[in-house]
């Protein structure tokens, strides 16, 4: 029973990892950019939520109504002012610019909020749980987090394949010059994609901040979890990303159960193992 519980907890954590991964995967899909600052943007969203909840005295989950638009606008501006200028055949500029951005965000947060760890308090919902089977109870918050992750991924799937914006994303991803000839403004399309990515980052950041302690230095690890979920699941597949997140979450939970020092290591090793035997990921997009 204890093991079943471990695995269930791992699955629920995996939802959060899938959300880290979804924003990363979206950006890569649309403009072939890997945002090294992705994890730090998640932490930034957590701090934005901290400021919003403390200023307005509202529940962190309600603060999403502010944090999501703030981050989305920041994403649009970031893409239009800086990142669009780095895109091209050369891999180096976008990588180094987002790497620089990561250092800027980390140290700016450190300067403003110090290195103390913080946590957002969501009230009684944090300790609430429901017993689904005798001996297995699920926390309401982790469950909510998982449901939100599934909802985000379903919404992205819908957006990608059922809306005009999604069609623009796919067209730009397939062939930039041709999509431009068809009247799309790539700079705008990319900025929209980044806005959407940071909207997801905002949700992930708030959920992270409610679940666990955070401080300015934890961003890179979130980037790595998201990245591992993307590669395990298979590039270009939204539902694969969810599966990747779950596999990573369960591996870490099992690792932690065996020895607390093995929590992160177990996740990384499963990732490397899958990279070795199935480099295209478990559920690659069929071309």
């Amino acid at each position: 029973m204890e093991w079943v519980n471990t695995i269930v907890q791992g699955i629920l954590t995996g939802g959060l990892y899938a959300m880290f991964a979804a924003g990363l995967s979206l950006i890569f899909g649309v403009m072939r950019l890997v945002n090294i600052a992705h994890g730090d943007l998640i932490v930034l969203a957590a701090y934005v939520a901290l400021v919003v909840t403390e200023t307005l005295g509202i529940n962190p989950l309600v603060s999403l109504a502010f944090v999501v638009p703030i981050m989305a606008i920041a994403g649009y501006v970031l893409q239009r002012t800086i990142l669009n200028r780095t895109l091209g055949d050369d891999l180096l500029p976008p990588l180094l610019v987002t790497f620089g951005l990561s250092i800027i965000i980390q140290n700016a947060l450190l300067e403003i909020f110090t290195a103390d760890s913080r946590k957002l308090n969501a009230g009684p919902i944090e300790t609430a749980s429901i017993e689904v089977l005798p001996g297995i109870s699920l926390g309401v918050l982790p469950l909510l987090q998982f449901v939100l992750a599934v909802a985000v991924i379903a919404a992205m799937q819908f957006l990608f394949y059922r809306t005009a914006t999604g069609r623009a994303f796919r067209a730009t991803s397939d062939d930039q010059p041709v999509s431009q000839l068809m009247g799309l403004d790539n700079r705008h399309v990319f900025a929209l994609a980044m806005a959407l990515s940071l909207a997801i980052v905002a949700i992930a950041g708030v959920l992270l901040a409610v679940r666990a302690n955070f401080d300015p230095s934890i961003g890179p690890a979130r980037l790595i979890f998201g990245f591992e979920a993307v590669i395990i699941g298979g590039l270009g597949s939204m539902w694969g990303t969810l599966a990747g997140g779950i596999i990573l979450g369960v591996s870490q939970a099992i690792g932690a159960k065996i020895d607390p020092g093995w929590q992160l290591l177990a996740g990384h090793l499963v990732f490397l193992f899958i990279l070795a035997i199935r480099p295209q990921g478990l559920f690659p997009k069929v071309q």
Binding site: I36, P93, L96, V97, G100, I103, H268, L275
Partner: protein
């Protein structure tokens, strides 16, 4: 006039001046223990290690197109090999430095086999995962202090040299020698057929492939050489520190972020870039380091600014403007029977 009547000339007038300048500088630096203060020597060792780390990263990213943000994996690996061999096998730490390079080269081969499956940007994050795995594994080694680290025992330290002064001199000379060897090897590599292959790959990978360049093998050779060099420098850095812990040995800021900053400022894809970049980096550090987090923030802003406004860095600008080149790397074809008429 057959094909045999031509030869490839590497040196230019500026590179002859450059090489003469480097030789003069080398003699001066080799004599530094006789004219410099103790604190200056320590600073010089640090500068040498950063020039070496930056030159190796530049070879990897600027020439082979393998952009890694995980080179701290090999800095830490080299350092841990030095501590492990010195403490448990009783080998003189100085001799463990080449051994650390050799072992790291061997370890780098299966690592490359894994992460070469990731393309472009994802390769970069893959290297970071590898570094994290190394860090977490190092924290699991109980006899080497686990997560909190360990110091070199006194007996091992005195085995390097009897007095502290002699030890510092020795470490200084090793750092200088290692730097010269690494720079020399990079020049030789770039002048060899691998260098030509690398240039071809950098300019157009598909075209290089169709001309018979074995792209994967060339990249593998560069990756393994870089790993070995980085590990030897890592071992040396922690021989000077005398203390190791996983978080410091595998620090992404110290061994990768600073190094990338140096190369970007100095000029990516040029051998002179890392040297110029290191000078700028240390000038900034010596004047602004008291600012702490703000200093790092400024480094980030400067790096982004350079990448957007002058992507070739300081030396790229100079080289384009004046055609200077300090290392004999150019390839010009001349007739064998003397200078062209």
């Amino acid at each position: 006039m057959g094909a045999a009547a031509i030869r490839v000339v590497h040196s230019t007038r500026s590179s002859r001046i450059g090489v003469a300048g480097f030789a003069l500088l080398f003699v001066m630096l080799a004599a530094a223990p006789f004219w410099a203060e103790r604190s200056d020597l320590r600073l010089l060792v640090e500068i040498f290690t950063y020039v070496a780390l930056a030159s190796l990263w530049n070879l990897l990213a600027g020439y082979a197109g393998l952009v890694s943000v995980g080179q701290q994996a090999y800095v830490g690996l080299g350092a841990y090999i030095l501590f492990g061999l010195a403490i448990f096998a009783g080998i003189n730490p100085v001799w463990t430095i080449p051994i650390a390079g050799l072992i790291s080269a061997v370890i780098a081969i299966p690592v490359a086999f894994l992460i070469f499956r990731l393309r472009g940007h994802y390769f970069a994050i893959g290297t970071w995962v590898v570094a994290e795995v190394f860090r977490l594994l190092a924290a699991q080694i109980g006899p080497l202090g686990g997560g909190s680290g360990i110091s070199l025992p006194v007996a091992t330290v005195t085995a390097i040299a009897e007095t502290r002064q002699m030890r510092e001199f020795l470490i200084y000379w090793i750092a200088l020698a290692l730097l010269v060897v690494i720079l020399g090897l990079i020049v030789m590599l770039l002048r060899s057929r691998y260098g030509l292959a690398l240039t071809a790959i950098r300019d157009n990978e598909t075209a290089a492939l169709s001309n018979g360049v074995n792209v994967t093998r060339t990249k593998l050779v560069v990756y393994v050489i870089t790993a070995a060099g980085t590990a030897m420098i890592g071992a040396l850095i922690f021989l000077q520190k005398l203390r190791i812990s996983p978080d410091v040995a595998f620090s992404v800021n110290e061994w990768t972020a600073f190094v990338i900053f140096i190369v970007v400022i100095g000029g990516v894809g040029r051998l002179e870039g890392p040297i110029i970049g290191t000078i700028v980096f240390f000038l900034l550090r010596e004047t602004l380091a008291d600012l702490g987090a703000l200093y790092l923030l400024m480094l980030g802003i400067v790096a982004i600014g350079v990448m957007l406004k002058a992507p070739k860095g300081i030396w790229g600008y100079v080289a384009d403007r004046f055609g200077w080149e300090l290392f004999p790397l150019a390839r010009r074809v001349e007739r064998r029977d003397g200078p062209p008429p």
